[in-house]
Amino acid sequence: MTQIELRNLVKQYDAQDQVTLTGYKGEPALNRINLTINDGETLSVVGPSGCGKSTLLKVIAGLEYPNSGQVIYNGHDFTEIKPQDRGVGMVFQDYALYPTRKGRGNLSYFFEVHQRSEEEEQARIKATADLMGVDFDLLLGQIPDTLSGGQKQRVAIARCIVRDPNVFLMDEPIVNLDAKLRERTRIEIKKLLRQFGITTVYVTHDQQEAIFMGDRIAVMRKGNLEQVGTFDDLYYSPANLFVAQFIGTPPIAIVPAVIENGQIAIETTRWTLPSHITLPNGTVRVGIRPEGWRLDADDGISMAVRHIERIPTERAAFVIGTIAGAHTSIVAPVDYPARESVRVTPDWEQAIFFEDEGESALHTPGVPDLF
């Protein structure tokens, strides 16, 4: 039952090489972030290293205070409130278990500090252990040093939920697990989040993880919030070039083109744009997703095929080449025959247009109507 709102958050590093006599030089870690996280929603925060997502999480948690701006929980200004009084539970990237305490001790620390009764502590630990699965009791009696990464992770998650928090905050919790385990844990966490229905902020650098875990996704770069929205919003209506390139695997192809009187030309090949797409004359950059190409088109531009990547398990293949200097991947049937070159045409309905210099989007197709 917690809605979080962030207003105008600014946070600067005060590291040595960034402070001068006249103030801070260098980019702020958080640059005027405005964000609302709805009650019960899971928000994934994703972005490249150094974009400030961990810092954002810490400010939401209360581990860091912003230089200006507010953190508002349910309409109350919590900017100055200590983390323990915000009712948050947090899972850290390196688990951060207390090394001298056993699993049980890690869970009970919260109750000891807040002087809760013994019964409450026992009851909650039992409830959490039941939730975490059959063999969790074993982990309770062990010191973190003797546990594997996955086991430590489970204890860390248990520690987060044992105190019945209002908000879950997760900082790249599965990044240190091996691939197989990551897959499994991802699903387990998602199940837990569904079950609890608690407001969650989930930070990761892996976009697939972000898409999987989050009801909405927030993309950050260099302290700025580039865009927030559902997957569809980000995929079909990216706010700028960065978001378009960040979301989507294989990545979108960004091809330079020239628009002249309703016609668009990539190198020497020319097409007519659909009438509802109005763009001024001049050079643009067109973003085309892998599924936005038609293969073997008569009116297409010729692309030299570098290689075809076949993924039998997904029953798909990608034809990879270069068009007008841009790296391009095109979806193809898994048994698409190998060849030297192929003629391809973009589906202009799905294309995203960007300005020539700079990053803003001139036109986005929006979520396609499937029915």
Binding site: V19, G62, Q84, D85, Y98, Y109, H114, D145
Partner: protein
């Protein structure tokens, strides 16, 4: 087992080299242990043998005379006035002084120093942390003898490092002063902050991942509670090392107590034993004949039956508390290392 190749280990040349290594190390350890052994041996040697020109490794007729003598010194129970005059006070007085000073220093110093190091490591950041660090560490660079005079004067007229308190301007009365000179506090108070231990603690606290502290902050509790419940249990090995180092430093400290104490009943064992030894043998004798020409004080002592053997006993007594402390601290050290895995 990394320097020796695994294959070909049984070749004669390899084995020879291996055993040479073992022998070398054994000799080294033996040499290191030799002083202990020798001191024990000397302590049970009859007095006249210790002065004989042919060196003895183990006495022909070991005797506990020296131990008995020192015991009598300790309790002043001897009838012999010469013995009683050797030391102005029973040995246990000095022992008590030393113990009090050492343990008191540990009691106050460890919390003060370690908490400051923790604050510097985890609670301070940025330029402030760096300046604080330098502030705490900077005095390590300076030879202790430099501050000897001002520190000494301060123990007399705290807080003024001057021979006598200055007058309050406008009146004829001197400033009120605190005099800790000639009390054990003159040793304890300056020893409360130990820069080297600070360095040790800070270095260790720096290795604790910040995320653990953050997790504890999310859980709650004051910073002190976090320190007490989470950080401190993790730090036991470092406390053990710091305690051991500091105990040894205070217990064995000679120059400062020498300077700071005047009443003979307040001095620690380190000074008492050294005094006795100095009366027995003068340092820096310029000719070999001087040893044969016994000075009055030496004769005195010899008449009481004390010779090098007795001195060795005293030396061993001086060492034993350090030894005990070593064993205790090593226990905690090992326990702590086992808990976290060798760093």
């Amino acid at each position: 087992m990394s320097l020796f190749p695994k294959v070909g280990r049984n070749q004669p040349r390899m084995r020879a080299a291996w055993w040479m290594l073992v022998i070398f190390l054994c000799i080294g350890v033996a040499l290191h242990l030799f002083p202990f052994f020798y001191m024990i041996a000397l302590s049970v040697t009859p007095a006249h043998e210790t002065l004989s020109p042919t060196p003895v490794i183990w006495p022909k007729e070991p005797t506990l005379a020296a131990w008995r003598l020192v015991f009598e010194l300790t309790t002043r129970s001897s009838m012999d006035s010469a013995v009683r005059d050797l030391m102005s006070y029973p040995f246990y007085v000095y022992l008590g002084n030393s113990l009090f000073m050492a343990l008191m220093t540990l009691l106050i110093s460890l919390p003060v120093t370690s908490l400051a190091a923790y604050a510097n490591s985890k609670l301070q950041r940025g330029p402030m942390a760096r300046w604080s660090f330098l502030f705490f560490i900077g005095t390590l660079m300076v030879p202790g003898v430099v501050t000897l005079i001002p520190s000494f004067l301060m123990t007399r007229n705290f807080p003024f490092p001057l021979p006598s308190a200055p007058l309050i301007p406008g009146t004829d009365d001197p400033f009120p002063i605190l005099r800790i000179w000639d009390t054990p506090w003159a040793v304890i108070i300056p020893g409360v902050f130990n820069a080297f231990n600070f360095l040790l603690f800070k270095g260790f606290f720096d290795t604790i991942p910040d995320s653990i502290i953050q997790a504890a902050r999310v859980d709650g509790g004051s910073e002190f509670n976090i320190f007490r419940r989470i950080v401190f249990p993790m730090s036991i090995p470092v406390y053990a090392v710091a305690a051991w180092l500091q105990f040894g430093a205070v217990w064995d400290n000679y120059l400062w107590p020498l300077v700071v104490f005047q009443s003979p009943d307040k001095i620690p064992t380190s000074v008492a034993i050294s005094n006795l030894m100095n009366r027995f043998v003068q340092a820096g004798s310029t000719s070999a004949q001087q040893a044969a020409a016994q000075t009055a004080s030496m004769r005195e002592i010899l008449e009481a039956g004390l010779s090098w053997n007795g001195l060795m006993v005293l030396g061993l007594l001086q060492t034993i508390p350090i030894f005990i402390m070593f064993i205790i601290c090593r226990e905690y050290l090992m326990r702590g290392i086992r808990l976290r895995g060798l760093k």
